[in-house]
């Protein structure tokens, strides 16, 4: 029969009020958990992808657009650059690898990326984002390797054929190429943008567009004659060389170099940073309101059971024990609210994670115990305890004789 048990019994005795108070805490905590987890996870995954390549070199324009289009397959490329830039990059002393990519077509909205077979052997940080689940890599023109999500969404299997659509945006009556790709391999799910990409030899893209340009006299914005590529993904001998090489390339070539990780961090700071701050502020506001509901709920409960407190005092309970038992009630409510909120946050993250997996190809874990999250939950617990102080003080000041005498 500890104070913990006594406090719990009083909470249990008013189940509905307690459940509603816990729910209000859980809503605030759930929002905070969701925002922090999603921010941590998306930033981590974006940065992980951004770290894979030290530089992206493409047509002059917006560097963020260049990075999003070539590393994350999210935006329209900035244009094409001459292939001799690729050769020049490969000749630079600290360039360990330079992978050309050529884009221009899609299949059911999934982007087709023409590149070199070497990229399929690239293992950034020991990971294997291009590992095969089945089949083999392309060996001849018009052979394709598809990402796990492409296979899942399209139902394509090894040996199946498909026709690509010209352009990046799916519109009715889009210009479809006559030539067919044959699926020769399916990538293992990596939780990266590769899951929703289709890879093939760069020659396939060039051939298709050379053919396409012959048919359309006016040519096209995304034509790929053999002397052009969309971008070059560059791996340097050391990440420390990124800034130096970016500046050198921007100075000496008719192209633009961008550092993926830097662009992504800028994106987070400028756009998502503000969104995160706003959502977190809303989360904390909900928690403050929850703390107020704990305060009001407990205060009303104390007023209703003044006689019970007086009885306990008559039985020998000290003022400290009465104060402590009420504070423990606040602790229970807050703790259960945090636990329920954590569960709610995980559900939201799991649901949003599924959406992001489909939209971005990023597989997010629903539970991430970041230092920010631990600090936030500690702050919520502290707020709940602070909310318990006023009712506990009210209980502490119990006038035993008066409260026992009241009918």
């Amino acid at each position: 029969m500890s104070l913990w048990h006594i406090a719990w019994s009083y909470l249990w005795n008013r189940k509905l009020t307690t459940a509603l108070t816990i729910l209000s805490v859980a809503l605030g905590v759930g929002l905070i958990v969701s925002v922090l987890t999603l921010r941590e996870e998306t930033q981590r995954r974006f940065e992980q992808e951004g770290q894979a390549f030290d530089l992206v070199v493409g047509a002059k324009g917006n560097p963020l657009q260049l990075v999003l289009s070539t590393v994350y397959f999210l935006d329209v490329p900035t244009g094409n650059i001459r292939k001799d830039i690729l050769d020049a990059l490969r000749d630079m002393e600290d360039v360990e690898a330079a992978y050309p990519v050529a884009m221009g077509d899609t299949y059911r909205g999934f982007r087709i990326i023409g590149t070199v077979p070497d990229l399929m052997r690239f293992q950034p940080g020991g990971s294997q984002p291009y590992a095969l689940a089945e089949g083999r890599y392309w060996e001849r023109p018009m052979e394709a390797v598809i990402g796990a999500q492409v296979a899942e969404a399209s139902g394509l299997r090894i040996g199946d054929t498909f026709k690509s659509t010209h352009g990046f945006i799916q519109v009715p009556g889009a210009d479809e190429h006559e030539e067919q790709y044959t699926v020769v391999g399916i990538l293992r799910r990596s939780g990266t943008p590769n899951d929703r990409a289709i890879f093939c030899g760069i020659e396939s893209v060039w051939d298709l567009h050379a053919h396409h340009d012959e048919e359309h006299e006016a040519g096209h914005e995304h034509h790929h004659p053999e002397d052009e590529v969309t971008a070059v993904l560059v791996k340097l001998a050391s990440p420390a060389l990124r800034f130096e090489y970016r500046d050198r390339i921007n100075r000496n070539f008719n192209a633009m170099a961008a550092i993926p990780i830097q662009e992504i961090q800028k994106l987070y700071e400028q756009l998502l940073g503000t969104a995160k701050a706003v959502l977190l502020a809303i989360g904390y506001l909900v928690v403050v309101i929850s703390a107020m509901s704990i305060l009001i709920g407990l205060y009303m409960a104390i007023l209703q059971r003044r006689r019970d407190l007086a009885i306990m005092r008559a039985l020998g309970a000290t003022r400290g024990e009465i104060f402590g038992s009420v504070l423990i009630e606040a602790f229970w409510v807050t703790l259960l609210g945090i636990a329920a909120g954590q569960a709610l946050g995980m559900l939201v993250c799991a649901a949003l994670g599924r959406y992001l997996t489909q939209r971005l190809g990023f597989h997010l874990s629903a539970v991430v115990w970041s230092p920010d999250l631990v600090s936030a939950l500690s702050a919520v617990l502290l707020m709940g305890m602070l909310a318990g102080i006023l009712p506990a003080w009210q209980a502490y000041r119990t006038d035993v004789a008066r409260d026992l005498a009241e009918p």
């Binding site: 019994s9 306990m312 026992l404």
Partner: protein, 220 residues
């Protein structure tokens, strides 16, 4: 056992409680009787330390409780006193057994490992062995007062402070509860101070203390 000398307490604007002299021996059973508002409950509250006197001495079991600190008084009350109220004052969220155990939880007299056995013993003693896990809301008023008696006696107190203990009971239940209370006080050799406005009930106890002149208009 219990002695009051010149105890005064201001009850409100122009209203003063004054008890010049009161004494009850150990094991005595005294009825504090008088009409409503005469000050008998105030006297009981002062003796049991629920109220502090403005002046005078209150000696209980050799200790002047007026001189005890708040924390000392809490401990003293828990150890030496058992309370029985007109409205039973059981704690609604707890079972009969738990209500009796709570009496021991705050008093610090019985070791925790003995709480359950002692509480069960007391409930058996008041005839409620079949209602150990019943909550107050499911007990009859007579049963509730029996639980209250068990709780009051569970710490083997020196004094039972009973304020109109039969006031909410029908005559038959009241008689049964009084019989039980007197029997247990005799058995446990505990001093019983019983507040009542009922002269017939007061006459059932060996001693009576009239409270008619305890509350007076304050002298200007």
């Amino acid at each position: 056992m219990v002695t009051l000398k010149n105890v005064t307490r201001r009850l409100g604007p122009g209203v003063m409680f004054h008890c010049p002299d009161f004494h009850a021996d150990a094991g005595a059973r005294v009825a504090l009787w008088g009409p409503s508002g005469c000050g008998k409950s105030t006297l009981l509250n002062l003796i049991s330390g629920l109220l502090r006197p403005d002046a005078g001495e209150i000696i209980v079991d050799g200790v002047d409780i007026a001189k005890l600190s708040e924390a000392q008084l809490d401990g003293f009350r828990g150890e030496r006193f058992g309370f029985i109220f007109q409205t039973f004052n059981l704690l609604a969220p707890f079972t009969a057994l738990q209500n009796v155990m709570i009496g021991m939880r705050f008093a610090d007299v019985v070791p925790p490992r003995e709480w359950r056995d002692r509480a069960e013993f007391m409930l058996r003693r008041v005839g409620l062995e079949h209602r150990l896990h019943a909550r107050p809301g499911t007990l009859s008023v007579g049963e509730r007062q029996r639980v209250a008696i068990a709780r009051a006696l569970v710490n083997r107190p020196r004094v039972i402070a009973a304020d109109e203990p039969t006031g909410s009971l029908d005559p038959k239940s009241a008689a049964a509860v009084m019989d039980l209370l007197l029997e247990l006080c005799e058995e446990e050799r505990v001093t019983l101070l019983l507040v009542t406005h009922d002269r017939a009930l007061a006459d059932r106890l060996p001693s009576q203390f009239s409270c008619h002149d305890l509350v007076k208009e304050a002298e200007s």
